[in-house]
Amino acid sequence: MKLLTCPVNGTRPLSEFVFGGEYRVAPPADCTDAEWAAYVHNRSGAPGIKNEWWYHAPSGTWFIAERNTLTDKVMRTYLKGQEGSK
């Protein structure tokens, strides 16, 4: 059983969580059509350490996990806006 640690509810089986995709920042509103299309569709598909949205379903908590998509090892999890804290 794989485990993931919700920053609010603690360590839980992965089945309690929903993957929300990579944390991404939208381009500015005045970007070009091509930039916008790239933002809408393209993803950083290559493996590496990524920040991703995860959702703890029983409590409705969205948080961010820093995870290596090659090894599936989670470095840390934190609430949005609390990157600096442990």
Binding site: V8, N9, P13, S15, E16, H56, A57, P58, T61
Partner: protein, 221 residues
């Protein structure tokens, strides 16, 4: 607030002609499943009861804690913890800024809060119609390990901890309550999953010679 048009969300799990029905707090519920003596034995081993008729109230938002305190409600100071007031009403803090309040059987705190003025920025009411269950008995841990992956023993849970996890794939809120020398678990889940979870847990309870019992075994009504 409730009328006798309400029926417990567990109703779909009950076959026709099962036990005796009654109305508690405006909700039709099964008050007794089998003979009193058998229910007593079930309770000792592994009892499961439907407490969905208890009044519920929810509020969330960044000023929800302050608003509740303004209404004279004692709130838990820690995230994911709970307190009971002198009348036995439960106040659960779900995460940091959301609260679930459940009345004691003879309580009317929820009705009072529903009437209070909550039109304030940062205070949002959350309707609650969960299925609400009670579990107890010497074999209750056997049931919990079958439905849940995390350690829910008394030792693992702090005395006032609120756990949000999944039972048999269904999201639940859970607390452990010591009452009158007796240890019991309280479980809330979305009412649409209530019958499924009830059937699942009542089935396990039966395997341990326990089973469904009237809620009067837990609360004086």
């Amino acid at each position: 607030m409730q009328t006798d048009k309400f029926i417990t969300p567990i109703a779909h799990a009950f076959s026709a002609g099962l036990g005796s029905w009654g109305v508690i707090n405006g909700m039709q519920v099964v008050t007794q499943f089998v003979d009193k003596d058998v229910e007593e034995i079930r309770k000792e081993l592994l009892g499961i009861a439907d407490a969905s008729f208890l009044g519920k109230f929810g509020v969330k938002g960044r000023h929800a804690a302050q608003w509740l305190q303004d209404q004279g409600v004692d709130i838990p100071t820690q995230s994911n913890s709970w307190v009971a007031d002198a009348d036995g009403n439960l106040v659960l803090r779900l995460g940091g800024s959301e609260f679930l309040i459940e009345d004691a059987p003879d309580g009317n705190l929820c009705e009072k809060l529903l009437k209070a003025d909550a039109k304030r920025a940062g205070v949002y009411l959350v309707p609650h119609v969960e299925a609400s269950l009670v579990l107890s008995g010497s074999a209750v841990q056997e049931l919990l390990v079958e439905v849940c992956s995390i350690d829910l023993t008394r030792a693992a849970l702090g005395t006032q901890e609120v756990i949000m996890t999944q039972f048999a794939g269904v999201s639940v809120v859970l607390i452990h309550q010591d009452l009158e020398g007796e240890a019991r678990y309280r479980v809330w889940c979305d009412s649409s999953y209530g019958p499924y979870l009830w059937e699942f847990m009542a089935g396990i309870a039966s395997e341990h010679s326990g089973g469904p019992i009237g809620v009067g075994n837990y609360f004086s009504l």
